[in-house]
Amino acid sequence: MLNGKFDAATRIAMSIIVRVAEVCDVDQLIDVSRAHIGGCTYLGEASLDFAEMFARLGGKVTIPTTLNIGSLDQYGWQIFPIRQDFAEKGTRIMEAYLQMGCELAWTCAPYQAGHRPACGEHVVWAESNADVFANSVFGARTNRYGDYLDLCAGLTGRIPAMGLHLTENRRGKILFRLDSLPMGLMQEESFYPVLGYLLGERSAEKIPVVEGLPKDMTDDQWKALGAAVASSGPAALVHAVGITPEARTLDEAFQGRVPERVEKVDMALLREVREKLSTCTDAPVDVVALGCPHFSLQEFLQLAALVKGKKRFPGVEIHITTSRFMRDQIRSLPAWAALERFGVRVIVDTCILHMRTVSPKARVLMTNSGKYAHYAPGILGLQVAFGNMADCVESAVRGCVHREDGVWKC
């Protein structure tokens, strides 16, 4: 693909892939069946220059390629404090990717939008939470791709044969045991982001294996766990024994070897992580942010049940990020009425870390997301309180942070 037979866009994409292969000492490329583009948000001129260079050269993706969140909610960014030039450039980058034949998805939870690769399928997904999900839940094979390689893979259908694409690199290294935890903890929504944050932090570059997660873990629980794993560390695969397709048994997760280390996850450790996810736990709340990664229909329904008959404290804003498709679904259901009455604001196709929807006057953000909790202080300059969805609703009603310690007290 580096020679004259291919167009300029393909040649440049291929040359970038080959250089990365060289950096990684890899001399083989493999075919990939799909790509998910993480780089379609405006992160400065470089992100725009890169997309527009390929679009200008007439680049077209050659494998099914979906798009992660964009920079803007095209349905209503105007009501937020967004600068005009950011909106223009954000729109340009979104258009450049569509022009190259990418499939409009605009979601960081492609796995809840029907994109569910099979076990053993090689994909290039460039969204860290989706990588954990693809590897751990589906047994698909992707690395934590950064931007650029996503589009290069979409254009060429190729990627260096390295990292988690290779069976031997998927071997578990550290065993995390959950057997000392109280019953009931695993029904607690916030257990999953807290455990994820702990796993990401403590496993660092070694693949964690978790024994003791419930077999009926929902997609939403996995989503919350994966996003937190990816926020606190570099891991892209968590073997859950009995759940992850290639970790049906402990032995399979470790590929017949013994763990390098065994860690017993206890309540003290988890409580410490739960506390660390908040920078304040006793303050007036300005904004409640849900939907990181993007809110699912199930989560909308859960929220609708929680807010029914309640009144939001004046001035507290509720921002929910999701895809336009999920928004259309919830709006068509009776549950929407309760959400509308409570005054939730649904933001689609993007994320509050990219499109700043939060008022410049806001000081405290409350969330049930380990990822929002991790990034909001740095990116938005806000104090963060972390709790579960019910805590978030109760805090919105009271106007100040309120957390039920419930099962966390055990």
Partner: protein, 141 residues
């Protein structure tokens, strides 16, 4: 003079004062590419400016946009003079490779093995050579 041997993932020449990060850093959400400031408030370099420094960090981590944040910092002129990681870090290398493609500018990315890596301390003056060798300039000169 002390000489460390690294592997040039993205070769280049640079010199500057070392800034060591104890913890891995996600450039996206962790580095402001317009100012060069580390903005991850949970990071040990929080508030420090990386511009022109020889940034030494275990590895990058976090969300998937670290590469383009580095490219953007290179474009904006706020990037470190060089980046030295413990083992190879393709995410940072890619940010620098694309900067070369788009702006004909780059930041050297050098991988050191663990033993060499731990010999760099904040405040050391170093010269990074094209072949990946890192020369420690004796203090006081």
């Amino acid at each position: 003079m002390e000489m460390l041997t690294g592997r040039p993932l993205v070769p280049g020449k640079a010199d500057g004062t070392v800034l060591v990060a104890r913890k891995p850093l996600s450039f996206w959400g962790g580095l402001n590419p317009h100012t060069g400031e580390v903005i991850d408030r949970r990071h040990d370099l929080s508030g420090q400016i990386v511009t022109g420094r020889v940034l030494v960090l275990p590895y990058s981590r976090g969300s998937s946009s670290t590469s383009s944040t580095l490219t953007e910092a290179i474009r904006a002129g706020t990037a470190p003079a060089a980046i030295i990681t413990c083992g190879s870090d393709p995410v940072l290398a890619l940010g620098s490779i694309v900067a070369l493609e788009l702006y004909q500018r780059t930041v050297p990315i050098i991988a050191l093995d663990e033993a060499h890596y731990h010999r760099l301390k904040t405040g050391d003056r170093v010269v990074v050579h094209l072949n990946g060798k890192i020369e420690k300039v004796p203090q006081g000169n």
